[in-house]
Subunit: 320 residues, 2 copies
């Protein structure tokens, strides 16, 4: 849990004489994800010692050869290896058909030694492949990305114990937990309603007993809505759209955005910013995630968490 | 669409001289459900004439013999008969087992001449039956109650065109449509997060592009939340809990509550009230549903709508 000590600073020398001004405590995704991964490593070691070398196993299925997908997959494989999860990368050529992708999925679904299966999106093939069909072909018991209809249905209706929660919102909840701020009875505002961030984030906050407002591109009074949020989670995909002056004093601000903006001072000519204007928001928020180093590293950690959880469920079932 | 004419009355003779005072227009579920049923009757007649006597078919599966269930089922069967839907009632004894219920469901799932299957809840059996298991055994293509995880998942993630929407929220949307008030960009507040009312109502309003806040038993500031609602849907299950003074002037108020309260002036010793204090709320709302005669009659109408839609999807598929 983060300490409140760093939260309030007396800024006597900055023109705010005699008044208390809050500077947000940074919620570090780097630190928190490391904690999660270390905990998982211990759990995996325990499993291995209790069940004669048993290891959680994850398959990452890729179609094609996109650079960004390759990078994401290598990050996942590395995290798995560090924790002791056996991870296998299946790469189908970019000439693969929908039928071939479905066959690969079926074969992994039927393999009892695999506990988690994710399909790296977007699928990169010269042939048309229906992403929803593919996502829903993954066995709900191995759908560690939590993207199938069945897992979404369970999450949205409050059956959290038997489903897999999508990794980004799950990571956001972990970061909120780190602040020590209880979600129960708080007013949470989620900006965005995507399948992988906004919509499941709403569900998670709701079933952790927050009063939740979902805002999106059709919301006409976003500043007012944001101003009422004790907990704000932003997954809008627009660089620095949430301004600091909108944020409620002391709020917990979780920024899921990853946007590249031009920056001539950088060798690459660009830098990464979130969906929240960090400099101004950190002057009002109680807690805030940075970008990068906030939500980003949590996503991979929670994928590992889901894989370990799936393996634990498998063990529980097989011992019955 | 309801007329605005009845909405504003100059109440010069009531002590409000010179001021305009709004009296809510009543949104009649009796009238609206009749309209829906008449439209469906025409659609069914059209199907029958185009496809040589084809009729939508609905099965209602019951376990046991509860009085309330019997009443609900007879209402559904009568509505189906009036529209021209072939409805069949399967009643299993209250000694039935989970396995027998599941077998009945499987047999209806596999029967290509049946387009809709609902399991009347609660199941009334001396044996333990897992309601979730039973609900999810219904084929998603025949789940006209919209209660399976797959249909909930689609609705919650915005795939409205391929799912079945639970009947009560669907009826609420139809009543909101009748007011002529557009949902897009409005602030909607839903009280309650049940699987059959609150949670799917949130989804429907969200994917019809309202900004949606879900409140529930852990919401500490319900009056303030209600006060911000352009559209308010209440499914809390508590008699007259929403007070008129909480309601925003001109709001659309949809009351899903059905509560029995003592009333010595009635022969039965009780009367039915909603979750909204109607007398005071109708002084502030722009539109309001009465109880009874509001949401209640819509639920059965929308079940019929789902059954007809299922039959239409079946025809479309079989003609491909």
């Amino acid at each position: 849990m983060l300490s409140w000590a760093a939260h309030s600073l007396r800024l006597g020398a900055t023109g705010c004489q005699g008044s208390w001004r809050s500077i947000a405590t940074i919620i570090s995704g780097n630190k928190t994800s490391k904690m999660v991964r270390e905990r998982l490593k211990k759990e995996v070691e325990k499993m291995a010692s209790q069940f004669s070398g048993f290891r959680p196993s994850l398959v990452v299925l890729q179609a094609g050869d996109r650079d960004d997908s390759n990078l994401y997959i290598s990050t996942k494989l590395r995290a798995a290896a560090e924790i002791g999860i056996e991870a296998k990368h299946i790469r189908l050529p970019n000439t693969t058909t929908q039928e071939e992708v479905l066959q690969s999925i079926m074969s992994v679904n039927e393999n009892p030694s695999v506990h988690g299966l994710i399909v790296q999106l977007p699928l990169d093939s010269v042939n048309h492949i229906d992403t929803d069909l593919v996502t829903n072909a993954v066995s709900p018991q191995k759908d560690v990305d939590g993207l199938s209809c069945i897992n979404a249905g369970k999450l949205s209706r409050g059956d959290l114990s038997s489903c897999f929660i999508p990794c980004t919102p799950s990571g956001c909840m972990e970061l909120i937990r780190q602040t020590g701020v209880s979600v129960v009875g708080k007013h949470a505002v989620v900006i965005g309603r995507s399948k992988i961030v906004g919509a499941p984030m709403h569900d998670l906050l709701l079933w952790n007993h927050a009063t939740v407002t979902t805002c999106h591109s059709k919301t006409p009074d976003l500043p007012e809505q944001v101003g009422r949020a004790d907990i704000l989670v932003v997954g809008a995909g627009r660089a620095e759209m949430v301004r600091g002056e909108w944020v409620k004093e002391g709020a917990v601000v979780i920024d899921c955005g990853i946007n590249h903006v031009p920056d001539e001072t950088k060798a690459s000519g660009k830098r990464v910013v979130g969906d929240v204007h960090y400099a101004s928001a950190s002057q009002r928020a109680g807690y805030i995630t940075p970008v990068p180093g906030g939500v980003g590293p949590m996503t991979v950690a929670m994928l590992m968490e889901n894989t370990v959880q799936s393996a634990q469920r498998f063990l529980l079932k097989s011992r019955r």
